[in-house]
Amino acid sequence: MDPLVDRFPFPFGEKAPHRYSNNSVPLDPPLSVEVTPTYREEVELKRRLLREVHSRCYRSLPGTEEAQWEAAQLVLDHLAGHAPERFRLKQEEDRRIFVNRVMEERREFTFRDASTLPCEPLDFAGRHVQEDLILMAQKDGELILEAGQLCFPANWSLAFKLGMTFREIHEPIPGFNEGGLSDQIERFLLRMEAGRPWVRRNWSLTVGRHLDTSPETIHRWGRQKKEVTPENAGSLVHLRVEVQKLFRLPRSHAVLFTIHTHLLPLEKLARRLEWLERFHRVVTTLSDEILKYKGILEFHEPMVRYLEGLRAGGGRKA
């Protein structure tokens, strides 16, 4: 038994080979955040990044204030509901008192009064959760990325994508616009209703245990890809899963994405033989185009040799 393995949101089902699809399912329980044993470590890392490279990790456009307050209220409320022994949100009309016992902090502020917070509301809420927070405004039948706190990106730039529509954001994904998929997902998001949140899982691979795989630091973490061998792939290569939860905010009509990133080294993944088999099937059936887009191409061959060695040995190195 390994708690990291036990709670890992393994993304691959029994049958489906990898393909892009609208894989959202209703979120139950309807909570936007989750607190895991690595809470303190991850929140401290987020705060360090926000301190050192704020403009990379936080962006907002004018006019997002209402949606930000709604998002902050929802996130802090869920945090207190999820782990009431560690977090508390007291509300009296517009007055709020938020207590974070893990970080030993207490903050009193007035709802919709930005001067009572040390930073913007979305930025404030994001400093208390492991999740990245992305706000998409809905205008003229389109979703537009208008604000976000993004500390743990899977190699995408908030600074660059700010202001883009849903379609523009996903334009680089190979095959995303084929077969009406982008239309289908966009329609789904546009029709989302308040009070009926959804969840989906998105995966990629990371070399090294790095939550911060931003394009701004790829010169550091990206070069490790060339170091992967069949001997070290088990400890170096990590399956990276983002649990993305989607909420419609009733007043602003914006959509909030909370993104919780989980990492699991392949040597731990392989302890479950069915996971090893499914993972092997997925990574050996991807097109070169997808391997390149996902940044796997550079270490695909040594990784697959490692997996095949394990399979030959029934989950242990042959």
Partner: protein
């Protein structure tokens, strides 16, 4: 550059209450067929030439902002002139459905460095060094209207 408002070739859209055609000498070849097709003496149509950067032309901004709803705007000319003109038209209230913009001639590409966010100027090269951080960038077609630039992936 493609996207809403920007077009590979101007197309005639009949049935609007008024047409405005803006061009420079380089873009006139694109505008002329539109002018000839729409100039039937029934619908108001105006043709204006521009040469300088529209940043400097306050009269043009005032004139465009005074136009009524239903006016259809065509712009054609050198890339460096039509890009600010497009933004000016957006600023005064033209929607991307109400205008067509065509850039003519060689085009300078702006490339956003994924590492340091510097905007680099590039020609048609597939790879360029970032002038600020020196990283080698792969110039993509992923375009941001906010930055008016394409994404430059760091090559590792």
């Amino acid at each position: 550059m493609t996207g809403r408002g920007w077009t590979e070739s101007l197309t005639v859209v009949p049935g609007r209450r008024k047409y405005i055609l803006l061009t420079d000498s380089e873009g006139y070849g694109e505008i002329q067929p539109v002018w000839e097709s729409l100039n039937d003496g029934e619908v108001p149509i105006e043709l204006r030439f521009f040469q300088d950067s529209p940043h400097l032309d306050k009269g043009l901004e005032d004139w465009l902002s005074a136009q009524k709803m239903g006016t259809c705007l065509y712009i054609a000319g050198k890339w460096e002139r039509v890009k600010p003109l497009f933004r000016l038209a957006e600023r005064v209230g033209f929607t991307e459905e109400e205008m067509q913009v065509k850039g003519v001639g060689p085009r300078e590409k702006r490339v956003f460095c994924a590492r340091c966010h510097t905007i680099n100027r590039a020609g048609e090269d597939a790879e360029i060094p970032c002038r600020e951080c020196g990283e080698k960038l792969e110039v993509s077609s992923h375009y941001s209207r906010l930055h008016d630039a394409c994404y430059g992936f760091v090559i590792i």
